[in-house]
Symmetry: C2
Subunit: 415 residues, 2 copies
């Protein structure tokens, strides 16, 4: 709102419009370009160091962001936020393009089992822990729900770095994380509905579920045929090499907006767009160009800005409940998703990798904390705890997951 | 300033920081993603149509922007401005990478002659026309100076589309436009100095000239050796395909900021960075990746937002002086630069193409209008005239230049 007024202020009349916007633009541009340069240079140096000490690059990005943010070297601007958001959209787009759809179909049941256990067990643990600590049912539901949805970005990036996206275990992790994200978002919608209206709105819950299933079914059937046909049409055959990415990005954004309109996340949309385009003639070109534009610009910025939002002072006010909560956040997913994978016939080490990959939480937990505070359902203290949980789970996952995947690969080679 | 306060407002304390920024982010993000989608889709459709009727794609972008802006379909956000600015930086970066440095050196004298005549003749025409219409000396100097500097983006894009960047005539055009931009910026600095202090500040003028020459000499000697050496180092040999663009973008941004610090434009910096990297082992990879990321995302957005800033209502208040001024703007460059090329031995048709390519004006003219208004040197009416001139010269150039270049190619083939 305030921001709208600021922008409005710049659009008063023809001449002053142009004149003011030039002045405004030059100042903003200078700050933006130097911020951008600082982020890109530090991320690049961080990544080189990470490579030297065999740590995942995404950890380097997060730590670089943590330092830049907490030392106040850069303040996050609206532009940087938006560029970061394009980053995570491209990350899931390229993940969708790299996933093997046949294998994903084969693993559909397993992914669902893993996702369901990975949602239920952390929810139950969070709910009862909060209740034992004396919080009300509603607060306990909020706390439990904040543990349900995996933030898929971190694992997606680590799987890309370790070249595991197209492998069986990578497919399972991505499949489970997407399903768990969808369930988490629907659960969040339901819980928020309860908090705002005081009732469980079964009708809107059902509508969400039906819309989601319809969307996914259409994506995996009609949309694939449609885009297979269109990829051979003049639109894609007549345009030059450097233009091919433009229509591909358009398709990704269209799916992102559709997904968002029916109540899912934008990234679920670009992931589905990636899955669909992965089945067309454009698969290789799309993957390469999306990966190039993503991994060399937008995605590092996404992870650095994610790190910048980690406010270390959050930890100073942490109590005993926060420690328990973070512990449950980590082991809830490892036990939930891990046991799901184990039940479906994966080895212990594979199941452990699946469990670790689903540990990071972010968006859903943060939005719940946001809405919970706004409607006075939770206290600032609990909101802090949730934020600290997202920070810890995000920061520990890259190293653990890389280690566990590499261990897995070594094992296989020995056989 | 107002914007700073808005941003500051979001950084109050740890929890509220995170919480507010989520709320703020989601609203802004939704608007941003749908604006982005509208711009990309309309640009893509416009470009397909342009291809069908054999018009330059950049004209399509401008017209699309003109429509989106004047119908009020999209309001330009800070993010879109910043993304557009990255677009023009990448455009000049890829132009620098594509230019043949040996040929540019051979044509250095010719380019300088073309640029000098192309600065002097429009200045003289503008100055005397304004004076004849009864304006004061100072106003006439402002008006004359606003005609000096070519806006290189349009011509650069048309040359890219017609694959003329590496050719002799393309090199001459780019060389002349860069020199003329540098002269224009120094002239602007001088004129603004006169307007603000009332004196011609010879010392700062000399410092500008010395710094500029030093920068260009270092770029073309030491910097080339340095980056030839560094391109073989571990930084570029150890990183994967999808990471190669990151250090390349960093180098481009560093040169942009250096250029800006010594008083040149950011785009002169990325152009020099492109020239330098074009002499290293990385030339091909850099050109391909910069072109891909630029031409499929940032550059179309740059031209569309340029079109969006064309306010058609500016034309309604136009008087007779504006018509004369626009006429002089067009023919000043065609005669100035064209006669320069002709004197240096180019054919009539080649000289005409060089003249047309240097017609578009934008940044320098708009900044002059801005500062002139701010210090009450010029009236809003003259500022309007200058803005209308930038619109007309920008809109007519793509078609004229494409036509004249294609005519040239046909002629050559007939021989």
């Amino acid at each position: 709102m305030i921001f709208d007024i600021c922008i409005l202020f710049l659009y008063l009349d023809p001449i002053h419009d142009t004149i003011y916007s030039i002045q405004f633009k030059n100042q903003v541009l200078q700050v933006f370009i130097s911020d951008l340069l600082i982020i890109l240079i530090t991320a690049f140096i961080g990544r080189l160091l990470a490579k030297k000490i065999k740590q995942p690059m995404v950890l380097a990005d997060l730590i670089v962001g943590l330092i830049l943010g907490n030392l106040g070297i850069i303040e996050l601007s609206e532009t940087m936020h938006n560029i970061a958001d394009i980053g995570v959209l491209l990350l899931l787009f390229s993940t969708g393009l790299a996933v093997n759809l046949n294998e994903l179909n084969e693993l559909a049941k397993t992914s669902t089992v893993v996702a369901l256990l990975g949602v239920m067990i952390p929810f139950i643990l969070g709910f009862f822990a909060a209740h034992l600590f004396g919080y009300s049912y509603l607060v306990s539901i909020f706390v439990g729900t904040s543990l349900t949805a995996t933030s898929i970005g971190i694992s997606s990036q680590v799987l890309t770095e370790t070249k595991m996206i197209g492998m069986k275990i990578g497919t399972l992790i991505i499949g489970a994380a997407i399903i768990d994200d969808v369930i988490g978002i629907i659960a969040m919608g339901t819980v928020v509905g309860i908090a705002v209206t005081g009732n469980l709105e079964i009708a809107s819950l059902l509508i969400s579920i039906v819309l989601t299933i319809t969307f996914i079914v259409i994506c995996l059937t009609l949309a694939i045929y449609f885009f297979q046909a269109i990829s051979n049409s003049f639109i894609f055959t007549q345009i030059g090499n450097y233009q091919i990415l433009l229509p591909i990005l358009i398709i990704g954004l269209i799916f992102a907006i559709i997904a968002e309109k029916i109540g899912l996340s934008l990234i679920t949309g670009t992931f589905m767009a990636g899955l669909i385009l992965g089945q067309t003639r454009l698969s290789k070109e799309a993957f390469e160009s999306v990966s190039l534009i993503g991994h060399s610009f937008f995605i590092p910025i996404f992870f650095v800005t994610m790190g910048m939002q980690f406010d270390l002072s959050t930890f100073f006010s942490m109590g005993f409940f926060a420690l328990v909560f973070i512990f449950l956040a980590i082991f809830g997913k490892i036990i939930g998703c891990g046991s799901g994978a184990k039940v479906c016939g994966f080895s212990f080490r594979e199941s452990l990798a699946v469990g670790i990959a689903t540990v990071p939480r972010a968006e859903v937990a943060l939005i719940l904390a946001n809405i919970g505070l706004k409607y006075n359902v939770i206290t600032p203290n609990i909101a802090s705890t949730v934020i600290a949980m997202t920070m810890v789970t995000t920061l520990i996952t890259p190293t653990l997951l890389k280690f566990s995947i590499e261990h897995l690969n070594k094992k296989k080679k020995h056989k």
